[in-house]
Symmetry: C2
Subunit: 679 residues, 2 copies
């Protein structure tokens, strides 16, 4: 047993076929050893993977992040045994031992691909449809950066994005959205191999998926091809990929007919999808491919040699590219400097300085308008800032006036017109961030985060710095009514790990909020902005915002503390002024506040004083920070904003009355919310 | 000014055209008076609405819920001025005064249609794509109930579902999912009128939406037609609808070319989309249609007469149907009795009795297996129970063995194969519930609620009783890893108004959980089930479950209370047994617990004792109920479940150690979490 110790099976079998069968046997072994996983798709897709890694893709296993590499996305992430096997075989830092620790605690071969864990994995997949949608973002970023940096004779940015996906991905709405946009944008360097095995988890696709996928993709404006034998005709796969590359102005879908679990006794059935084949069937697989059924994890020497040639090939490719980049640096020093900065994911010095500061004398504005100012200021110093709205540009106020639309004919443009495609938009932004060199933002109404939640979660999990610009963030949006008014969205995003929920109260906090979002290189942020105007507050500051929460209004001897966010802070301050003995804490970002030293956190809340939260959203989650919560634990209503504020208790008068009652209730002896046992 | 007081304008104008123009003028007036709203789409879609309400649809304004009515869905809900105008004109209880109170507090004419507020509104729309997807559910339910109840000569269930939608709806992924399934299921009585006006909020569709919609719907298996003049050619719309009805085995898409804001100076531009036209332009509209620009809210008498004839026509139609139903009742008394029960949304007597009870001697099972038993028991006594999984039937264990697949050829089947279409699935279930006569359930992994969140929210807002059967509800799913392990999903659903989050600990609680879900006729429930086996607990009971939370393990003199849910309850009890002085409260449904009398709520938590929550999810939101929370405030990991339980602190030993520390910290003087001021 072991790597490289067995002879090439069946002398008359071509090396290509032996490679493919080696992958299949390894896939069966990997899943069998783990006693968990999905052998069927890796065995079915082995020929495509073989062609991509041995004949097609440009990559350097010694430098998985080499910027000019082709990107590969396994959209059917449950087939990840295949990806790990290819990374191992081609010399990435994925050892045979890691293959043997598939799906075990602490391995780098988890049950679905995680970009932050495994070298060579571009994006986290498994939740169906995300990978293909990410790939649209990868190809979009490539197209933009190529337009930005390439010069005649200097094709610095010039890679393809390859995807393998199954029918599950093609059934998901997120894929429909992203694919329609990819067709519109004519992303010609996106090539998708569709593993058409006629099988889903529930059985044959016939029971639920009978649409004509090829016609659908033609309707999207894609170039399409159909291969009838994806099990053994390796050459046809290669020829189809070459044909796809030749069509420069359309993304390509290649439907490849395969048999799931090819080689298994259960091949062609859903039984090979989501469980190990069993020892007996694994032996059968090996026998049918001419391998020794008594041996596991075997890579015949010629197979190993063929794949390992990727290491030297990759190093040579990167050296060649580095030489080109050196010449480019001499010829175009400014562009080279910028590209170097972007590739290293660094920010330019003093970028924050462009963001405006305000005083209470500045006119009241909706925070979405203040956001527009910040976005446009940032766009001037951060050429990597690129994004747009899901067809609400004029409401979200997210257009970068210093640039133009990103379209097929104008790839330099940094304003992406996502269309009414929230989920696709977020998934595409994840892909744009994964590419590198761009800082993606996207926008819709806060409530419609719900449409994009599948991808927003993956921004957080995968450490994609996507800036979500979410306007119309409360009942303050008024007449559009409860279908548009977020209630549970804010607690939802606060409960999501590795995600900043930022809700600025005014101009300074909007500037501070953008600083937090741009600084957070390793996580996404959701910036929540009001539709309605709010005053600039005397006590607000960027510095305070950067601590997540701070005292914005104070008195000599407070009797209570109001903690508030966003557009409600100004109402809380009005209420405090009515009462005369109340401190107000503005809390634009509770996650950042939780990262401050405990002594600072406690300093905002004098012992014994009751804390009352004031936020026009579900009160869910506030009890850890406030004794009493003023919020909205029902759906909203359709009416002008002012009428809604009164109806839901968000006037200074109503808050003052409640605050008085709370002060009377606790009599200066409210329990200490910060006195928790250390566990 | 006023209703019915003006003469018919322009003698040579056909009555049809006058009707259409009356609608357009009213739409301009309604939005202008509200100083808010969307005039463009109502004006553009007026001809379609006129044809539907005057020539096509079967409905009874005096009985908006008449079961045999055609269903109408305005998928572009922002065009709701149109719907309210049609309801008013045809004699529904939507007065002219209500049109004048469009988008005002307390009116029944909110900014987007709300099914629970306005007679004649079938589903809540506005969030794009939901309406068309709901319509698939409406048509699906019709097809099933027709197969179930109709007999030769008794076409009791025989209605069409009509939709008006815009390009926004067609860009949304949820629509793609639902439309693909509608084509697969050959829902021939679903007819969609696509208002193709080339305009989105951001401008011309050219900037982001250039796919071939007709080809795409052909790929889905739909019947398609294109009308080039939707502004004035009323007959062509009628003929197209008749042609669509003639194709009985395919859903139909009719693309109708219109000009947005037809009649406005700004017609054909996005400027008519989302804001009042302005007084001057409203006057222009009226002049161009031969109306008196000085008058508002005018309905010419012939127009009024034509539409109001719907009242007597509708009454006659319903009487005819009632006569048919009387004959049916005589001929098929059992079927009639069942249909009567279903139409009245009543449950049969003693249905709960079929659900199993367990003792601690019963073998350990995954709660998803216990769920399967309940679903199948319920299916026998509740013929209305109908649903399925998003291609995870074998994992969710949601197949009703007493029935078969619901397919075109087998419409009696109650097992819907939704495919990998979570968002579409949830939206379709909303539509099924809106139809009446079926109790829809649907399933996926709990984490993928995120994919369906847009529609899950609308279940809650619209009071649709959809039962979400969500398995693999924690890190206990093991190897599939963090992309599949819910962390924030549970707090998300708990923070959503009008939604039950039910997480049973064992067999009795699973039975109790289903009772809660089936009983809750006015709200959706999410039932969370484990992938892994859990023991049947000595102290568990259906009765306790029906209170939302109850003491499941007790001691004479407790020193602390562990409150836990789902698969963690058994671990909490183990920990309590190790310590010997700890009470355990099982809390399968906190929303139901909050509805119990305060004296019962307090009785579970003796004064001064610390309360510790134990749940394998984000701790967000627990602080209102527990002094300390043991949970998971990060993303999970890929490994066998047992290894993850140890890693994340969910072993009896680790919980016992922490509980001891908490007891020591509070020394019997933990603050009273139930002593909050009444505000
Ligand atoms: Ca191509
Ligand atoms: Ca039809």
């Amino acid at each position: 047993m072991g790597h490289g110790c067995a002879a090439l099976p069946r002398a008359n079998m071509s090396l290509d076929q032996t490679c493919v069968n080696t992958i299949r046997c390894l896939a069966a072994d990997v899943v069998q050893k783990a006693e968990s996983g999905h052998p069927g798709a890796p065995m079915g897709c082995a020929p495509m993977a073989h062609v991509l890694w041995s004949r097609v893709m440009k990559y350097n296993p010694s430098d998985p992040k080499w910027f000019a590499r082709d990107r590969f996305v396994l959209s059917n992430g449950h087939a990840c045994a295949l990806q790990y096997i290819m990374l191992h075989l081609t010399g990435y830092a994925v050892s045979m031992d890691e293959l043997k620790r598939f799906r075990q605690l602490g391995s780098i071969t988890p049950g679905h691909p995680e970009n932050f864990l495994t070298p060579g994995v571009e994006v986290s997949t498994g939740p169906l449809g995300q990978g293909l949608s990410n790939a649209v973002g990868l190809a979009l970023a490539e197209k933009h950066l190529a337009a930005r940096f390439n010069k005649p004779g200097f094709p610095l940015i010039d890679n393809y994005t390859y995807v393998i996906c199954g029918d599950g991905c093609l059934q998901e709405g997120v894929t429909s959205e992203a694919s329609s946009l990819a067709g519109h944008l004519r992303l010609g360097k996106l090539i998708v191999l569709y593993d058409d095995n006629n099988i889903t988890i529930d059985g044959e696709t016939e029971i639920s998926f009978t649409e004509d996928v090829i016609m659908r993709y033609q309707a999207y404006g894609w170039h399409t091809q159909v291969l009838t034998d994806g099990n053994s005709d390796v050459d046809s796969i290669l020829r189809a990929i070459e044909a796809a590359k030749a069509v420069a102005d359309k993304p390509s879908l290649i439907k490849v007919k395969t048999v799931i679990g090819f080689g298994s006794k259960k091949q062609g059935t859903e039984k090979t999808h989501g469980a190990p084949l069993g020892a007996e069937d694994v032996a059968h697989v090996k026998k049918s491919f001419g391998f020794n059924p008594a041996e596991s994890f075997v890579v015949p020497e010629p197979v190993s040699q063929l794949y390992r040639s990727a290491v030297t090939r990759g190093q040579a490719l990167e050296q060649e590219w580095q030489a080109l980049f050196a010449k480019y640096t001499a010829a175009f020093p400014d562009d080279a400097k910028l590209l170097t900065r972007l590739m290293s994911n660094a920010l330019p010095p003093n970028w924050e300085d462009v963001l405006p500061k305000y005083t209470a004398a500045d006119p009241a504005k909706a925070t979405r308008q203040l956001s527009e100012i910040c976005l446009n200021k940032l766009a001037e110093v951060l050429p990597e800032l690129m994004g747009g709205s899901a067809d609400l540009t004029g409401s979200n106020l997210t257009y970068l006036k210093c640039s133009q639309d990103f379209q097929h004919a104008t790839p330099l443009g940094r304003n992406v017109r996502f269309g009414v495609r929230e989920h696709g938009m977020a998934a595409i932004c994840n892909g744009m961030h994964a590419y590198g060199g761009v800082l993606p933002y996207c926008a819709t109404f806060l409530n419609f985060v719900g449409y994009a939640a599948g991808a927003v979660r993956l921004s957080s999990l995968s450490h994609h710095q996507v800036i979500y610009v979410m306007t119309h963030d409360s009942i303050g949006l008024g007449e559009d009514g409860p279908t548009h008014q977020p209630i549970e969205t804010i607690p939802y995003l606060r409960s999501m790990p590795n995600h900043l929920l930022i809700r600025p109260a005014d101009g300074n906090e909007t500037s501070g909020g953008y600083i937090l979002a741009v600084r957070s290189r390793n996580r996404p942020s959701t910036l929540c902005f009001s539709r309605h105007a709010v005053p600039n507050l005397a006590g607000s500051s960027i510095e305070g915002t950067l601590k997540g929460a701070y005292v914005i209004h104070d008195v000599a001897v407070p009797a209570a503390v109001l903690i508030s966010t966003g557009s409600e802070v100004s109402i809380a301050i009005e209420a405090a002024k009515l009462l005369g003995d109340v401190r107000v804490v503005s809390a634009p970002c509770l996650e950042i506040f939780d990262e401050q030293p405990l002594v600072y956190q406690r300093s905002l809340f004098p012992p014994g004083l009751p804390i009352i939260s004031v936020e026009m959203a579900s009160t869910f989650g506030w009890a850890s920070r406030a004794h009493v919560s003023i919020g909205i634990d029902r759906f909203g209503a359709s009416a002008p904003a002012k009428a809604l504020f009164a109806k839901f208790g968000f006037t200074a008068d109503q808050i003052a009355v409640k605050t008085k009652a709370v002060i009377a209730h606790y009599k200066g002896a409210a329990p200490d919310l910060y006195a928790k046992p250390a566990l």
